[in-house]
Structures are given as C-alpha cells and as structure tokens.
C-alpha cells in the first residue's frame, strides 16, 4: 500500500539509507519522502551527497543499507517500467560521442522499446512506431531545440547541451523526474525555459525532484525543499527552508561532522545565494 504525505501520495520513500564511497560515509540515516505531483528541490553544499542520493535512486550505486520504494513498490520495478527519468550533470556525458541531438533524445525511449515486439526493434525506431518519434519531437519542441535535431551533440553550446539532456528526460514521459543541477551553468534564457518546462511537467501531475544551487529560482517555483548535508538537515516549505538563516545554518552544518571529513569539505564551498 502506498504511503501518503499529508494528503498527497508519496512518490519516493527512502528509509534508513546509508551510502559510502571507498568506506567514506556520504549519506547517513536518510529518511525522506518525496510527495507525488510536487516539485521538490534538494539543496546542500558541494559534496553533501546530493548526487549520491540520485545515484542510489537510479541504481548506478548500491546503498550500504536502507530501502527505496516508489509508490509503495521497490524502485527497481518502476525503473524497469520506465517510470523514472534521470537528467545527469553535463560533465557526466561524453560530448565527443558520435550521436546527433535527435539520437540522444531518442535514448530516453529505449526503456519503453523493450516492450515492443522483437522484430520491430530491429528497425529504426521512427519507422516501426511513430509514438517514439513523436515523443522525441515533442520533447525537442518543448526545449526549443527542434531546429538543431540533426546536429552532433559535440557542436552544442553549454545551455543547448542542458536542454538536450532535459529533452531526453522529457521524451521518456516518466512520472518521476530526477534532475541533477538542471540549472547549473546555463544562460538566463535557457534557465527560464528549463524552469517553465519543469513547471509544466508538474502541472501535468508529474513528480519533479531537482538538485539545485539556484535559490531565487527554487524560492519562486518549488513546492517542497529538502536540505541535505550527509544527514537530512531540514524538510519543509520553500519560504521556511530557504530563509537566509536556515541556509547559513546549512552552510556551517559541516562543522558538526567529525574531523575526519573536514579536509574533504574544506575544498568545497557553499555560498548562500544572494537575493
């Protein structure tokens, strides 16, 4: 039975999660519920374990302990059904790879193609089922990249690359969207466009979860905020969680860690967003 969050359904339910890299704890005792159909921002300093949390949710990293459920079922079931879309950071992608914008976005459809009969899968996707091509077309339209569909991904600007990655997540038509810093390093028009697209996804009833450092954007748009720095440092409404006092507290929260981790944290910086 799926749990509820107040009066809304819980999309992702993380219980008692621990994760580590090379025996260095990155996430400890994480108990988190992401409300369905809402837009959640995950905020924390660099090295706080935000991306690690996403790696656990997408299955590319194994947790030491704990469980993750989506709509009351193991999250793997939902991954296999293509319900969970993931947008990586720009640095995680090999931009030299010889694929076009269209082919990259079509990658978001590969999960769904497993449900197509085998003989069809041996043909180019566009021919055998128009719905894949249509989904890609609509996703590219949404991020205003249709004109560049044939361009190799290596020839795109920074903001365009972000938009292509977003289009790939949209093309999947998943009901949970995980976005790792979708707004990092993009120009203001791209940022506006990305926020608008995500707002529309939320209006369509999808659960949007993003890691972000963009406080003004988060304050304006999201419904729910999670503060994280190895432990959960706060969960609640944006105006409460993103208050200057709360963010300052989060920024110094690393002092509560053991001396052992201090060196690693010094390298990272976290600036409380101005205005």
């Amino acid at each position: 039975m799926a749990t509820t969050f107040g009066d809304t359904l819980v999309a992702i339910d993380v219980k008692n999660l621990y994760a580590a890299y090379q025996r260095q704890p990155v996430l400890e005792n994480i108990n988190l519920q992401f409300p369905a159909g809402k837009w959640t921002a995950i905020v924390g300093p660099n090295g706080a374990g935000k991306s690690t949390l996403f790696h656990v949710l997408t299955g590319s990293m194994k947790a030491l302990r704990g469980s993750v459920q989506a709509f009351g079922e193991p999250i793997t079931t939902h991954r296999k059904a293509g319900h969970i879309a993931y947008m990586a950071q720009r640095e995680a992608i090999e931009w030299d790879f010889p694929v076009s914008v269209w082919e990259t976005v079509m990658g978001g459809r590969y999960g769904h193609m497993r449900n197509d009969p085998l003989w069809r899968r041996l043909l180019p996707a566009r021919w055998y089922h128009p719905r894949h091509g249509e989904a890609v077309h609509r996703a590219l339209e949404a991020v205003d990249m249709l004109a560049l569909a044939k361009r190799p991904i290596g020839a795109l600007s920074g903001g365009q690359k972000k938009r292509v990655l977003l289009a790939r997540t949209l093309a999947q038509q998943a009901n949970i969207l995980l976005l790792d810093e979708p707004l990092a390093g993009v120009d203001p028009p791209s940022e506006r466009l990305i926020l608008d697209v995500l707002a529309r996804e939320r209006e369509a009833g999808r659960t949007v979860i993003m890691v972000t450092h963009d406080m003004p954007g988060a304050r304006r748009h999201v419904d729910h905020v999670v503060l994280i720095n190895r432990f959960i440092r706060g969960v609640g409404a944006p105006d409460e969680m993103l208050s200057d006092a709360k963010l300052a507290e989060l920024a110094v929260s690393s002092t509560e860690q053991s001396v052992y981790d201090m060196a690693a944290d010094k390298a990272s910086s976290f600036t409380v967003a101005q205005g």
Partner: protein, 311 residues
C-alpha cells in the same frame, strides 16, 4: 550428436566455398598482376579469414574506442594466451579456454580496482602480464616455439579450414549480437548511468561486451595474432571517429578500414614476402594517419586551412 556435427561441418564447408567463390568473383575483376596471387587455395582461405577478421574487429573497435577500452582490449588479448594453451592441452575448442581466462582477468582487474588502492592502469598491467607469462610458460612446455610465434603474431597463410570455420562462426555471432542489442550497447557506451536508470541490466551488457571482445580476439588469433589484434581493435574505430559524427557511419567506415587494411595488407605481405600480421596492422595505421591529416572536419590540414582563411 556426431551426425549433427558432421552435417554442420558439411554445411560450414559449403558456406565457406560459397563465400570464397563470391570473393573470387570480385578479386578476378582486378588485373591479373593483383588477382594472380589469390589463385591458390591457401591464399583464398587467408583472404576470407582476413575479410571476416577485418569486419568484426572494425565493428568492435567502435565500442573499444568510444568506451576507452583500448587498454582493456590489450589486457584481454594477452590474457587469452594461457586459456588457449590449456584448451590445447585438454583438447577443448580454443574459444572456451580463451574466454575463461579472458573473463577471469577482466573480473580480477575490476576486483583489484574496487577493493584496493591500486588504480586501474596498474591493475590491468599486472593482471594481463601475469596471465600472459603463465601462457608462455605452459606453451613452452607443450609446443614448439614456431607454434607460439603463430599464436602471438598470427599465421594467416597457414589457416586451416577448421580455424576458418571458427572465425566465420565468431563473426556471425558478433554481428548478430551487435544487431540485436544495438540500442542497449549504444546507450551503455554513451551513458551507462542512463542505461541503469532505464532499468537495463548494465552488468549483463558490460560482460556481454567483454565476451564479444574475447570472441573477436580468439577469431583473430590466426590472422594477426594476439599481440597485433589490439591494433585492429583500436585503429579502425579511431580512424572512423576522426571522419564522422554519426555512430552508424562510424561503424561502416570502421568496417571498411578493417576489411581493406586486412585485404591490402595480406596482398602486400605476399608480394613483398614479409609478415602478414604486421603488414595488415601497418596498412591500418597508414589509414589512421591519412584520416588524421585529411579528415574534412577534424583533420590537421583542413583545420590549418580554416585557421589561415579566418586569420
């Protein structure tokens, strides 16, 4: 069972004869000065083997280059040696032994990388040289040094019908797998984390690709040998990568480079009376340098030309 094998053998022989006949039709279009060399049965077998090896190495090399697996390919090719030796001792098909030691080595490399502070290049270096040394020791005990030379550097002119059949089967399997698993393989090579998020079993894809690599290496054993096969697994893909920004085109160019360098190299080695494996690799390397200089988009010449025109 024996009957089935005999039937399959007959079928294989017929298929080989058919393929050779088809290739000879093309060869005979060339002037006699070139086609004369291919009138002997051993040359025809060598030619067909070279074409097959050039083709599957060309396909696999796209993945090797894009996935940055060049060193891993080198490691697996060396690690195959003890497997081949043990299989020879036990009278098994080469492929089984080769696959076992190749896979064990790649698993070992992964384990050292994950559980110790040793980095991946050192892990690969120490694992494959160890396996290679074991292979050399076993072979020195059971076979002559010419035999060892043939495994290490290939002996395409001495390819037997059985080895040719093995290469043929390996090529067909590799081709089928790449066709059937085209999308998962592409996605895994491009963005493994995305593949994982979409619910693909990435460890199956990972070890599947390693299995394909091993299969290709074993298939190339007789042609270029396990030392030079690494070149055939890197050079065609690297050449193609300089020439296109489309994955399918890259595969076609890579296969083209693989097949043409295998055929031209074979012919040159006979005409010049030099080692075939080495000649094949040198032709492939020449293709790479030509692409490096003259590629329309990423070539040195065109880049200089553009700079000159701009400035």
């Amino acid at each position: 069972m024996a009957e089935l094998m005999a039937t399959l053998g007959l079928f294989g022989d017929a298929l080989v004869s058919g393929l050779i006949a088809a290739i000879m039709v093309i060869v005979n279009l060339f002037p006699a000065s070139i086609s004369d060399a291919f009138q002997y049965a051993f040359m025809q077998r060598a030619l067909l083997t070279s074409v097959l090896v050039g083709a599957i190495c060309g396909i696999l090399s796209c993945y090797v280059v894009l996935k940055r697996w060049s060193l891993l390919g080198d490691a697996i090719s060396h690690a195959v040696l003890p497997g081949v030796a043990i299989a020879y001792l036990l009278g098994w098909p080469f492929f089984i032994g080769a696959f076992i030691t190749g896979a064990l080595t790649s698993v070992g490399i992964g384990a050292i990388e994950r559980h110790t502070r040793i980095k991946s290049d050192a892990a690969m270096g120490l694992m494959f040289t160890g396996a290679f040394a074991l292979g050399i020791v076993i072979i020195s005990k059971i076979a002559s040094s010419t035999h060892l030379m043939h495994i290490l550097f290939g002996n395409v002119l001495g390819v037997q019908q059985s080895a040719l059949l093995l290469t043929l089967v390996a090529s067909v399997i590799a081709l089928l797998v790449v066709w059937l698993a085209y999308r998962p393989l592409l996605l895994y090579a491009f963005d493994p984390q995305q593949a994982q998020a979409l619910g693909f079993n990435t460890s199956v894809i990972h070890y599947g690709l390693i299995l394909l690599l091993t299969l290709t290496i074993v298939a190339s054993l007789e042609t270029v040998g396990i030392i030079l096969v690494v070149a055939m697994l890197i050079t065609p893909g690297a050449t193609a990568h300089l020439l296109t920004d489309r994955f399918k085109t890259m595969m076609l160019i890579s296969v083209g480079v693989g097949v043409s360098s295998a055929v031209i190299g074979l012919w040159l080695s006979v005409v010049l009376d030099v080692a075939s494996g080495g000649t094949i690799v040198l032709v492939a390397t020449s293709c790479f340098f030509i692409a490096l200089l003259f590629s329309p988009k990423h070539g040195v010449v065109m880049r200089q030309w553009r700079r000159w025109r701009m400035g």
